[in-house]
């Protein structure tokens, strides 16, 4: 779908707060703040950059909603293209509509949209006050971190298509992807966990109150009747904890046993069961108040650990496939008329229209117009390719330039690229690793505990049979591995947060364990080691004026050379996409091009070419990748370094990674840069070029055969197979929240040079888990030695359990944070990197 909204750069970061800096230029557009240049439109004594912005302002003014501009000066979103109502008509098709809405009956419909352009408090206010602008719209509720809005409307007054068109006309066009169809289940996992935690906390606090007299030895004082009452009350409060709050542990332990695995939940469940049984016996027999305080405290702490571990990040999805990349609708041409239809209605043989920047949804044949297709995201090929009518086009390519027409040859799901998802690797869901480090410990631990428990029971059976059962349950109770179970969640959970602060997001904590085991790193080239997209075109030299940018933009429009196309894209924003007339244009293949724009001579080309025309070329800026030099009116002006250029510090990264792991390069691009990478990676590294998406998957599988733990670092859809197959798939994204294929880690592109530190930090974190486990083992040893003698009183239990848990948690968190800081992964130490990343 054409990007109708021009989002200002710098808004793509993880905006968690409302104080997104909005810089109102005094001369900027009153609505969106864009600099005003030529063709300024005035309305009510205010200046606007375009018709779209003026329209939004007038809609707001008409409904007395100019308060919008009080929340943030120039808070609006630029609406660059006029929105046509028909464009969203396809949404009213019953089949599409049914799959998109959350709820619908005869009168009302409720629907949720993701709107990427939500960026500030004014947006929230505007969307939640939508009912004032559009009759028929009811309640609207914005979730700012997720950039989602949930809208209720009356069917008789508004249709879904009208609503979306209206939102788009305000600059808030919902993101509608193919994946939104038939995918309405949103996980609500944490709600249940919160409730379980609440119940456990409630019981824990109240049972503690009843137990205090017991702790202080006041039982004699208060009398046996009261003691019994306290016992029964504790029992009543503990029942929901055992049944509801601990439910997941019962289930997980049962699952573990059925798979013949002594997972960590098994000793936990054993401990809870022993606590419950022994306490219930004491209460029923009227002997005491039991250990219900320890029981609920144990469950409470465990659930805290679980909640800490289950940190999720808004706007990040780790399991996307091509359907989240493909738009929901396309423009179909039928009988000479254009219509917007849902992609699911697309049939083989349909004629569709693809505009600049739009995606080719399925394998097709080019029917009209020369096309420039950018496959970088799909195949890793870094340079757009030119296609002529009749040529075959693969799905996933992006058209750059004019409008083209294509004729589809295959269904969307059967196309070359999308058929990757039919591979074996995608059949099984990404495995939940059962064989985590903690479960390995648990196996030995559980056996030891049961041995000690049975041993002490046997011992007392022969010496003092009345104490046999007591000592048996005491051992199980005190050995309940609460601290052990908390060691990993809190250490790895802290590590996860340390990494997230540097924009490295891991899917769950067991990924960190996998990262610590990685011995082979496979790197993708385009987009991973080299920066992808026009954004990374860098100009070396004094900043260009707007006029100069316009000249360059005009000149590049006349060339189809990939370098020219990219420079053109890069300066398009600065030039305002206004091309001037170019006279006496000429291009020398492999050398450069020249032309006269607005009376100025513009020369662009290689250093040698410019030098041959007596221009003093500054060659010092020549980095890795292609460099295009620029001369204006015969004077040297600077140089462009083009994508394909390596990210900064790549050489350092490679040498650091090579110290610990085996390295390989895997690229879909051609061999042009083989020599350069051979130099970088050393003589023994495995360099593969011209790899198909399927080839990449197989490459990883071959590496895994001898038992290697492989980390794949990639960015595009072409890496999706390799990311899925690898043990740890790392998706690199230029902006957080942008599309990334299914992976275990999502990482901001500027963190790529620090991969080696990330791996090392993971290893350190795992070492911290080991230390914490040892510490908790120490507590267990003390506890068991008391319990085996059959002398475990509720007070000892009530002190030992929280003491061990809290100290292990504090130890784990503090140590991990400290290592994080030392590894330079914390904010303070890496401040300079941050500055680099945000020019």
């Amino acid at each position: 779908m054409a990007t109708l909204i021009a989002i200002r750069p710098g808004r793509n970061g993880l905006a968690e707060t409302a104080d997104d800096p909005v810089c109102p230029a005094a001369t900027g557009c009153f609505h969106c703040g864009a600099p005003l240049r030529g063709g300024v439109i005035h309305s009510q004594e205010r200046a606007f950059c375009c018709q779209g912005c003026r329209t939004v302002f007038e809609i707001l003014a008409e409904h007395g909603m100019t308060d919008f501009y009080r929340f943030g000066t120039a808070a609006g979103v630029r609406v660059s293209n006029a929105v046509k109502k028909e464009e969203f008509k396809y949404l009213d098709d019953p089949a599409v509509r049914r799959q998109l809405v959350d709820f619908a009956d005869d009168r009302i419909t409720r629907v949720s949209f993701r709107i990427p352009s939500i960026h500030c408090i004014a947006c929230v206010w505007l969307l939640e006050n939508l009912f004032r602008l559009k009759p028929g719209v009811g309640h609207a509720h914005v979730n700012f971190p997720r950039k989602e809005v949930c809208i209720t409307f009356e069917n008789s007054r508004v249709t879904l298509g009208e609503l979306v068109a209206f939102l788009a006309s305000l600059g808030y066009e919902p993101e509608l992807k193919l994946a939104d169809l038939g995918n309405q289940a949103r996980p609500r996992v944490s709600r249940r966990l919160w409730l379980q935690l609440g119940v456990a906390g409630f019981a824990f606090g109240n049972i503690m109150l009843f137990s205090i007299s017991g702790y202080l030895g006041l039982d004699g004082f208060s009398g046996p009747a009261l003691k019994m009452l306290f016992g029964w009350l504790s029992f009543a409060l503990a029942v929901p904890v055992i049944i509801y709050s601990a439910a997941d542990y019962w289930q997980a332990a049962w699952r573990g046993l059925r798979q013949r695995m002594l997972t960590i939940e098994v000793p936990i469940a054993l401990g809870i069961a022993a606590l419950a049984a022994r306490s219930a016996c004491e209460v029923f027999a009227g002997r005491g108040t039991g250990y219900f305080d320890s029981l609920s405290g144990l469950v409470f702490f465990l659930l805290c650990g679980k909640l800490f571990q289950q940190k999720t990040w808004h706007r990040l999805a780790f399991d996307l496939d091509y359907r989240s990349f493909f738009p929901l609708s396309i423009t179909r041409k039928q009988n000479g008329a254009e219509e917007r239809v849902s992609l699911s209605q697309l049939q083989v043989g349909d004629r569709i229209i693809i505009r600049n920047g739009e995606l080719i949804p399925s394998d097709a044949r080019l029917a009209a117009g020369p096309a420039m297709i950018d496959y970088s995201f799909v195949t890793g090929e870094s340079v757009p390719v030119e296609k002529q009518p009749g040529d075959h086009l693969y799905a996933g390519g992006r058209q750059i330039g004019g409008t083209i027409e294509i004729e589809t040859l295959k269904a969307v799901s059967q196309s070359y690229l999308t058929s990757l998802w039919n591979q074996q690797a995608f059949r099984k869901p990404r495995r939940e690793i059962l064989d985590t480090m903690i479960n390995q410990y648990s196996r030995r631990f559980t056996k030891a505990v049961i041995a000690v428990a049975v041993g002490s029971a046997l011992f007392w059976w022969f010496h003092d049979p009345s104490r046999a059962l007591v000592s048996f349950t005491s051992v199980l109770i005190v050995a309940c591995p609460c601290a052990l179970a908390l060691a990993a969640p809190f250490t790895l959970g802290t590590a996860q947060r340390v990494l997230a602060r540097r924009k490295v997001f891991v899917r769950n904590t067991s990924v960190i364990e996998t990262l610590a085991r990685v011995d082979t790193v496979v790197l993708d080239k385009t987009g991973t080691l080299t920066a992808a997209g026009a954004g990374s075109v860098e100009f070396d030299g004094a900043p260009l004026t707007a006029d100069e940018a316009t000249w360059i933009f005009s000149l590049t429009r006349h060339s189809t050379h990939p370098c020219a196309v990219r420079i053109g894209e890069a300066v398009a924003v600065r030039a305002g996409s206004v091309a001037g007339e170019v006279r006496s244009f000429s291009e020398q293949p492999g050398a450069g091009m020249q032309g006269v724009v607005a009376g100025h001579e513009v020369w662009m080309g290689s250093a040698a070419w410019l030098a041959s025309r007596n221009v003093a070329v500054d060659r010092s800026a020549a980095g890795v990748g292609s460099v295009v030099h620029l001369a204006l009116d015969g004077r040297y002006r600077g140089s462009y370094t083009l994508p394909g250029a390596l990210r900064p510090q790549t050489a350092e990264l490679v040498s650091r990674l090579a110290a610990d792991c085996e390295l390989a390069l895997l690229s879909g691009d051609n061999e042009r840069e083989r020599d350069q990478f051979r130099k970088l990676f050393g003589p023994f590294a495995n360099l593969s070029f011209n790899q198909t998406p399927l080839g990449k998957l197989e490459f990883i599988r071959d590496l895994q055969k001898p038992g290697k733990t492989v980390m794949m670092v990639g960015d595009g859809l072409n890496d999706a197979g390799a990311l899925q197959q690898s043990d740890a798939g790392v998706a690199v994204v230029e902006s957080i929240g942008a599309f990334s294929p299914a992976s275990d880690v999502i990482m901001a592109a500027n963190m790529v040079p620090r991969l080696a530190e990330i791996l090392r930090f993971s290893k350190t974190s795992v070492r911290v888990v080991r230390l914490s486990i040892m510490l908790s083992g120490l507590y267990n040893l003390v506890g068991v030695s008391i319990a085996a003698r059959g002398q475990l009183s509720p007070v000892v239990c009530a002190i030992l359990m929280p003491l061990s848990s809290v100290s292990v948690v504090v130890f784990a968190c503090a140590l991990t944070n400290w290592f994080g800081r030392r590894a330079g992964l914390d904010d303070t130490a890496a401040g300079h990197l941050n500055a680099e990343a945000q020019p």
Partner: protein, 63 residues
């Protein structure tokens, strides 16, 4: 000591009210978005209220 028979139900009742409040808060989704509600007080109260379009939230939960 008999006063304790009055104090215990009182304290449990009070705690139960808090628990009830917590359950309500979780159920109404307040723990899912802790950012946007903080922004709402900064906005002016709109003069108008949405038309009488019933909120579908209740029905959704059952779905």
């Amino acid at each position: 000591m008999i006063v304790i028979l009055l104090l215990i139900p009182l304290s449990i009742a009070m705690a139960a009210i808090f628990l009830g409040g917590f359950i309500w808060a979780v159920r109404s989704g307040q723990y899912e978005d802790t950012c946007t509600p903080a922004m709402r007080p900064l906005m002016e109260e709109p003069d108008a209220k949405p038309d009488e379009v019933p909120d579908a939230r209740q029905k959704l939960q059952r779905k």
